[in-house]
Amino acid sequence: MKTTLFSLLILLILTRETTAQTTLYVPGSYPSIQAAVNASTHPLDVVEVAAGTYAGAINISKSLSIHGSNLGIAGNGIRLAESVLSNAKITISGANTVTIDGIKIFQSDNTNDAVLLGGSSIVTIQNCLVERFGISPGIIARAITTSSGSGAKTLQKNLFTGDLSGGLFGSHKTWNSGIYLNAAASTVQIKNNVFKNCRTAINIDDFNAGIDVTGNEFDNNGTHMAFGGVVPTSGQFVLPANSFKSPGDAIINLSNVNINFRLDITSSTLNGLSFASYPLTNLF
């Protein structure tokens, strides 16, 4: 009996040692983020990325967190030297829980989706500066793209911005979409972000009650929000409070919605004022 109990204790000790949370330092311990990701063995592991620029694709198929030098500092806040993921297409797949916090995602190439979130993944991306200065104009480059699936997504306190030199429309060099909710994402929270100088800040296909867009600031995007889908979106929705500033073209683009689609944005403001204070010529 004693032997048995001892053996169990040893087993428990060994088990705890093999699943211990670890911080993986890049580039201190690992030359690349992908190497650190690969080395991670615990869902609570943290890949801590020092200030500097890192290239190369990142594929994440396990649960972990990636922390940059601006951990906890909002994308539009006063930030330190950045941990820059340059043209590093990030793909998160599987039913894993991933958090990315405090890094800068920079893109200049023609990659379509800088961050691609799998449908079942549970992802939080926060406090990131997401910036594009494309070398080619008019590229359909999306900063964060979601796929259909049940995994909850939380995108908050980020700054999505880019190069204005190509304008906000056909020749743009900035993000074609800051966030693109492609197909029926079930639970998405887009909260307290700043979208500035994007072709379209948010494209939402298949808008549904599980998508919460709250407290964001939209400033000088070609279109602040566009709704639609392969199947025209139906339903009546109330958009929570957001702050809109004058757009390049439209606040709301009803590109592919059904005849029944209604969107009530009366809780939001335009340039700090309620829409009721604007003449009709502004609201049409």
């Binding site: 639609g228 073209d249 709301i252 009803l254 009530d264 609201l283």
Partner: protein, 848 residues
């Protein structure tokens, strides 16, 4: 644009609670209506919308404007084919509002093609829709301006056979270019549907090919400030033989029901029902009870008011009742304060019923008093009235007090305007050439009170006699208008030549009958402008004969024959007196101050000529003008001073103390003139003369007085003595309100023959040719009266050589004053010759 859509898709964004926003690339007003809940407002952006929509709940639909440019206006276009149903309207009303919260359609342009603009129910059907409390504000419905081929396709507002529309308010809207602006249809049945409680203001019904408005049911309706023009007129060439006979502006043809209270106010009806409309009219109001079609379900209409409208230039004005049907109503029709005139037949056929301004074909008498019918002659007015119509009194003029709002008459209705006429208030007849009284038949005063303007016998004038005068008073103040204001007619049998002996008279005008101002000289007839005397109006006119009595005249020659005075510009309303300096002379017209006894210059304080004008101070202050020994002053009155009983002038001298002439012999010669050219000396008066000076009949009508010092230096001891001191010259008649009229009876007091124009013994050829100042130095000033429009002036030296020749033009009998340059002439004697239309006069002058 703050939200965008994609063609073929829909969806709406709500920016403000309870408000929808529709844009043209996402075109679905209907979807906005469907999504809305009662009370919502649907805003429609500028653009063109090819759609119709059904208002199924109480909403406000507000466009961006009713103009034609879709860049800034909301334009709804639809065709019957596009709508799929030609019986509905582009906007279908199927919802009601409430008191104070109507269904509102505002700032929208609707352009139906082959269908209605706004409909309640379906065309020619009996849907029984019940809609109430609807408001249209700045809604313009425009058709295609195409004449109907009897299909009645385009109707601005349509209500079907059994539908009810109540509490309809329309403002600032238009129903133009359609077949019917409105078409309110009613079944001849027991159905009780109607269109009631209607208020329409500032709305157009124009260029509709058949009718601006056609109503078979209408109750409690008011149209105010509407424009109804060119509906069913010839320009549209309506080819439908069914419609053509009855083209009209408004055709209210009520059927099956009891209706009341239709008012049309402050509106304009022009150009309606013209061309080939047999029964065309501007406004037709009928309550059909005629058998057999309407006898079972007759209509009645009580209380119709048409006021302050302009109804002119139509085929007919207002017609009540259906032709040849003897309808009982409408009853209690009042038509007042309108201008209903010039509604003349243009139909080429002869089978139309009565024409005119008001045609009442009903059994009920219509009250249509106080309208302007284009004439103030009752017989002419009657020509435009047909049937039982009370039209007297009518307005006697068509003056419109506010041209922007219908017709606002300024004439007072029912008050007979005063008969303006002249009456003789004063006269003094002269004698004939033979020195006898003028014959009785030429001395009837009343003959001068009305101008026959004819030289045809019998005698109907008043002969002034040589030097005589007559004063006529108009009981209405004669207005100073444009150009001449009066014409004095003289009776001369035959076309006598105009020459120096032509019958002529000076004509004066006065506001108070005391102060008369010269208007000019009439030779035979003469026209005068009150402006000449600066008078805004005048009531008194004095005509004074100044005919030169030719030696060869027959014994009965009796001067100017007054036929009468014609008023050319009407009468004045405002009779504020034109200021005249009462009594005293008003201005200085010349003179030269003399010197003191020892030939020194008189002190400045006594040397201001203006001190002699105005009324006297009658005190011993330095408020006078010293003439100086041998000096003189010319003073002018603002008015004419006529001779009357006793003296007319008083000359006031200032003498410090009350010295008599025996001890202080300042004396002055007083002369008078009517023209400041010819002077007549009245006498010499010393400073203590307190009486009045009689200007004598020979000088009646003077305006100038010359006071010339004739004191003797030897009568004064002081070297500073400076002659006569003029305080003032006043006209005594001015101090009383009695006109200077010696008598109002024909006393035939002889007057001496005036020779004021004669400067030499040669009969005048050129009236009043004068040289002002002779000898002359550098300039030769002459004065004469034009006897023709052209005059020639020449100067000859003593050798008969012409040294100057000029042509001048002017108005006939205009008094001309010219200054001719003669500085280049050598000193010597010259002859001035003036020629005009065969008349000629030559007078000499000396060049220094």
């Amino acid at each position: 644009m703050y939200h965008r859509g994609r063609s073929g898709r829909n969806g709406l964004v709500t920016y403000v609670p309870n408000n929808q926003y529709v844009i043209p690339v996402n075109p679905s007003i209907q979807s906005a209506v469907n999504y809305a809940v009662a009370g919502h407002t649907i805003h429609v952006a500028p653009g063109t919308y090819s759609q119709n929509f059904n208002v199924t709940l109480k909403v406000n639909i507000i466009g961006s404007g009713s103009g034609s440019d879709p860049a800034s206006n909301t334009v709804l276009t639809q065709t019957a084919a596009g709508a799929g149903d030609s019986k509905i309207g582009v906007v279908q009303l199927n919802a009601s509002g409430s008191i104070g919260d109507p269904v509102l359609i505002k700032d929208i342009r609707i352009q139906p093609v082959g269908m209605a603009g706004i409909s309640v129910g379906k065309f020619t059907q009996s849907t029984g829709v019940n809609v109430s409390h609807v408001s249209l504000d700045n809604v313009h419905v425009y058709g295609t301006y195409q004449p109907s081929a009897c299909s009645e396709q385009e109707r601005g507002l349509y209500v079907d056979l059994t539908s009810l529309l109540s509490n309809l308010t329309i403002t600032n809207s238009a129903f133009n270019g359609l077949v019917y602006g409105w078409y309110l249809q009613k079944a001849v049945s027991a159905d009780a549907s109607t269109v009631t409680n209607v208020s329409v203001s500032n709305t157009e019904f124009k260029d509709n090919t058949s009718k601006g408005l056609y109503a078979e049911k209408l109750n409690n309706a008011t149209f105010d400030g509407c424009t109804v023009t060119n509906n069913g007129d010839a320009a549209w060439g309506n080819t439908c033989v069914f419609f053509k006979p009855f083209l009209a502006g408004f055709d209210i043809n009520l059927k099956s029901g009891s209706y009341q209270n239709i008012s049309i106010r402050n509106s304009v009806f022009t150009g309606n029902g013209t061309g080939e409309a047999k029964e065309g009219a501007a406004l037709v109001i009928k309550a059909r009870n005629d058998a057999p079609a309407y006898a079972s379900f007759p209509a009645s209409l009580a209380n119709v008011l048409v006021e302050n409208c302009i109804i002119s230039g139509n085929e007919r004005g207002i017609r009540l009742g259906e032709p040849d049907k003897s309808n009982a109503g409408p009853t209690n029709v009042v038509i007042r304060n309108n201008a209903i005139n010039a509604n003349l037949k243009t139909y080429s056929g002869t089978d139309g019923t009565a024409y005119g301004n008001i045609i009442n074909l009903t059994a009920a008498t219509t009250t249509a008093t106080c309208n302007w019918y284009g004439s103030n002659v009752a017989a002419n007015v009657a020509l435009g009235i047909f049937g039982p119509v009370v039209y007297v009194p009518f307005l006697e003029d068509g003056n419109d007090g506010n041209v922007s709002i219908g017709f606002q008459p300024t004439a007072v209705c029912g008050v007979t305007p005063p008969v303006c006429l002249f009456r003789v208030v004063c006269f003094q007849q002269g004698l004939t050439h033979g020195g006898a009284p003028v014959p009785n038949n030429r001395s009837i005063l009343s003959s001068a009170e009305v101008a026959q303007k004819s030289d045809t016998p019998p005698i109907n004038f008043y002969s002034l006699g040589f030097g005589g005068y007559i004063t006529l008073r108009s009981n209405c103040p004669v207005k100073n208008g444009q150009g001449n204001d009066i014409k004095v007619w003289e009776t001369t049998y035959g076309a006598n030549p105009i020459n120096a002996f032509s019958e002529r008279a000076r004509v004066y005008a006065s506001q108070d009958g005391i102060h008369f101002l010269l208007l000019g000289i009439a030779t035979y007839d003469g026209s005068f402008d009150l402006n000449t005397a600066g008078l805004a109006w005048a009531s008194y006119f004095r005509i004074q004969d100044i005919t030169t009595d030719k030696p060869t005249n027959p014994a009965l020659a009796d001067g100017y024959d007054v036929d009468g005075i014609e008023v050319l510009n009407g009468y004045a309303d405002n009779t504020t007196p034109t200021p005249i300096m009462q009594g005293g002379a008003s201005s200085v017209c010349g003179g030269m101050q003399g010197k003191t006894k020892n030939f020194s210059t008189i002190s400045p304080i006594r040397s201001q000529p203006s001190k002699a004008t105005g009324l006297p101070q009658n005190n011993n202050t330095f408020n006078f003008y010293s003439l100086g020994f041998g000096g003189d002053i010319c003073l002018k009155f603002d008015f004419a001073v006529f001779d009357g009983p006793g003296g007319e002038l008083k000359v006031i001298e200032t003498t410090f103390g009350n010295s008599t002439c025996n001890s202080y012999k300042e004396r002055a010669e007083i002369a008078v003139s009517f023209d400041n050219v010819s002077w007549n000396v009245l006498g010499v008066y010393c400073q203590d003369f307190a009486g009045s000076i009689d200007i004598t009949p020979a000088n009646s009508g003077i305006q100038y007085v010359r006071v010339r010092d004739v004191s003797l230096r030897s009568d004064f001891s002081s070297n500073a003595a400076d002659g006569y001191d003029v305080d003032a010259v006043v006209a005594m008649s001015s101090f009383s309100s009695t006109p200077p009229c010696p008598s109002v009876t024909n006393g035939r007091i002889a007057t001496s023959q005036p020779e004021l124009f004669d400067q030499n013994n040669v009969p005048d050829e050129i009236d009043g040719l004068q040289i002002i100042g002779n000898p002359v130095s550098d300039q030769l000033k002459i004065r004469f009266t034009q006897v023709a429009e052209q005059s020639n002036i020449s100067i000859y030296n003593y050798l008969g050589q012409q040294v100057l020749n000029e042509d001048h033009s002017g108005n006939l009998w205009e008094l001309k004053e010219l200054t001719l340059p003669v500085s280049q002439l050598a000193p010597g004697a010259y002859l001035l010759t003036v020629k005009s239309r065969g008349s000629k006069e030559t007078i000499p002058f000396v060049k220094l």
